[in-house]
Amino acid sequence: MEENNKKSPLRRLPASEFDKIYAVYCDESASPGGVNHDGTPRKAVARKDMTMAQWTIKEMKRNKVAYFMIFPFMFVFVLFTLFPVLLSFILSFTSFNMLEISWDMFIGIDNYTRLFFEDDIFLQACKNTLVFAVVIGPVSYILSFLVAWFINELAPKLRAIITLIFYAPSISGGAYTIWSALFSDDAYGFVNGIMLDLGMIDTPVLWFHDEQYAMTLCIVVALWQSLGTAFLSFIGGLQTLDKNQFEAAAIDGVKNRWQELWYVTLPQMKNHLMFGAVMSITGAFGFGGVVTQLCGFPSVNYSCHTIMHCIDDYGNQRWEVGYASSIAFVLFLIMIGANLLVRKLISKVGK
């Protein structure tokens, strides 16, 4: 067999063929080879002359160049994305501290009991993070889709300009600091200035440094810069929809654009909706850097303190790495949980 393969100019199986054989070995589905014209399952050709292990090893050898190609990326990815999750999990059961390293650090679930029963600031941060995420996530997601959908039928030039206007805030880095000038604490702030001039207030409002307004304003700023990757993904996805389906639907009696959206557009957009959701959720839970810049750290009376700030506080300021790791791991679980939940919801679209 080896000899034959080496001589053959077609060294590699086409990917689709490979998947079929692989599916037979793994028994992934009843008819991995697809369906014949008469509806009977087509038999894929499994190798009769070797077991799955032998076949896998042979394919690994044949495609060994692929492992070299993914190696540099995977090395960095594993080291800086996967390994940290594992390391955080392990450290979360210790009292590891950058300042005093000792050997009897294992403290079981003490960090977690401290988190959920003693640390009022963490609980406050949890609540804030959830409020931010529950408002920013869905609103930015729906906003991204609506704007992308509304501009989809415009002329390309006009669409490009509107895309730029809506997308610019999310890429212009520190531009959100303009909000601290607009809502600055003194009379020279734009909003205070106008309101004083109109006589609506007597003294300047402390906007970002007032518990009453800080969180609402942060949400506004977050929404202002939230039309990011999901938004672009929706615009791109809407461009690739199958136009014939719209024609068929129009003839079949779809009455207005909302019905068209629900019955034709959304089912076709499912994969993009999924990707956009992941981007929106991750963004909403990771929200915090903006708060540090606008409200200071910590924000007044912890009114905008998020889980991210807790991690920063314990990890980078107090060097309680064990405790910070347990917070990071909780955040990890929350993010994964929210994503899985939402993906389940989206898989129901159009059904």
Partner: protein, 290 residues
Amino acid sequence: MQKMRVRNHQVVLNRSVGGDTGIFVFLAIMGVFMFLPMYYVVIQSFKPLDELWVFPPRFYVVKPTLGNFGDLFYLLSDSWVPFSRYIFNTVLITAAGTFGNIFFSSLAAYALSKIPFPGRKGTFKIIQNSLMFTSTVTSIANFLTLSALGLLDNPLSIIIPAWGGATGLYLMKQFMDSSIQDSTLESARLDGCSELKTFWTIAMPMVKPGWITLIIYSFQGLWQAGASIYIYSEQWKTLNYAISQITAGGVARMGASAAATVLMMIVPIVVFVISQSNVIQTMGTSGMKD
């Protein structure tokens, strides 16, 4: 049949006037909300000193001046390390990080998309699922890793992690899946082209919109890399950090900080304008299959 008309040889639904008006109003309000802060910061940066302090604040400028930009450079030249050092650091980090990210992501994306090696589905699934959490989760552990590797206080602490960015690889792999035909690659392989050569000379030119999109993504992230916790000596700080120091100067530096904000945001925006159509084309294939 009244509700339909023909556009571009396709039968399409007629849109109701009420709906169109509603959409227009919605887009107009949202557009103003999005655009006004950006407009205001640009206006601020061109206001001369006496106009900056006009009460109540104005939404227009009477005598535009470049004075604020001059002030900015004066302030920066007065900094502890030469201003050019911050620019050098930012350019170095952005260029090295972006180049590595694009090269390694494309290489891996090509293998994951076009070479049927055992384990590729599982590998891709892990990468795809890693999009579900952010760097906030990994920052503490990465600090320990970087310190163990001796990379703290070194620009490599920002550059190397950028090489393993999952979003870039994800977008590239999805784009390669849909825009490179297996048959094209097969004929190259039949001609005796090695896999690496096929990747570089045939696949990469075909996915130009893909790597342009990756450049944008990587660039945006790295350009904004500010006061990283991994870097503490002044000589390796970035432009964004230097500028945030000026912005932190408060009202007294209102004009200069507006000028700084404009300078920092103009670069990513121009880069996006140039490449928008490529980005949208790549995003068309960004859908996530379960």
